[in-house]
């Protein structure tokens, strides 16, 4: 199993550009999550999904969009990038049978908006 994979690993965007961060998992997990981690801070939840076709906002959803057309993939879309979106983005997944299950994290995507 590859686990949770994320692409790209690093990206530089200009203000106003758009991009999609890719996330895929091969563990047949129902639940998937997107977090952002700013320097010296913990992780904040952007969006989450409890299954294909079902998504909902987390704590910091503004400026982002998600979709979940398959169990495996959960892409995060940034529209009109802003310097405040400079961060490290982590995707995670879990089985979804109980709230306190292990979340498996990907290696992250480092995004710099200039």
């Amino acid at each position: 199993n590859a686990g949770v994979t994320q692409t790209p690993k690093f990206r530089i965007l200009k203000i106003g550009q758009s991009m999609t961060l890719q996330c895929a998992q091969d563990m047949n997990h129902n639940y998937m999550y997107w977090y952002r981690q700013d320097p010296g801070m913990g992780l904040k939840l952007i969006y989450y999904s409890v299954g294909a076709g079902i998504t909902d906002k987390g704590e910091v959803p503004n400026g982002y969009n998600v979709s979940r057309s398959t169990t495996e993939d959960f892409p995060l879309r940034l529209e009109l990038a802003a310097p405040s979106q400079t961060s490290v983005y982590f995707c995670a997944s879990s089985y979804g049978t109980s709230g306190w299950e292990t979340q498996y994290f990907g290696p992250g995507t480092r995004l710099l908006v200039l």
Binding site: Y33, G42, L43, L45, Y48, E59, G96
Partner: protein
């Protein structure tokens, strides 16, 4: 949104010393997790505590969940250089009411550096 505060934010110690990291909240959490994160990687789960007063041991690491389920601590005995990393606590987020769907609220983390 429920808040988790970790202390200290930074910890620099010598190999062989003991240390404790604290995670506190004014909210009750049904479960609390501790993660370790190394530079350039995602967090990796160390332990989940779900019962008030629960104590779990993982080799030299001891985790405790407060009786009121509002706080937790991580104690490392005889720290080693391999323990260096960012330690994060995370609580299950029921801020929207009902099912948490596994949503987590994270503390800001404790950066631990163990010197040889």
């Amino acid at each position: 949104t429920q808040l988790l505060e970790q202390s200290p934010q930074f910890l620099s110690i010598q190999e062989g010393e003991n240390l404790t990291v604290y995670c506190n909240s004014s909210s009750v959490f049904s479960s609390l997790q501790w993660y370790r994160q190394e530079p350039g990687e995602g967090p990796v789960l160390l332990v989940t505590v779900v019962t008030g007063g629960e104590v779990k041991k993982l080799k030299r690491l001891t985790f405790q969940f407060g009786d009121a389920r509002k706080d937790s601590s991580l104690h490392i005995t005889a720290a080693q250089t391999g323990d260096t990393g960012l330690y994060l606590c995370a609580g299950e987020d029921y801020s929207a009411g009902g099912t948490s769907y596994g949503k987590l609220t994270f503390g800001q983390g404790t950066i631990l550096t163990v010197h040889p």
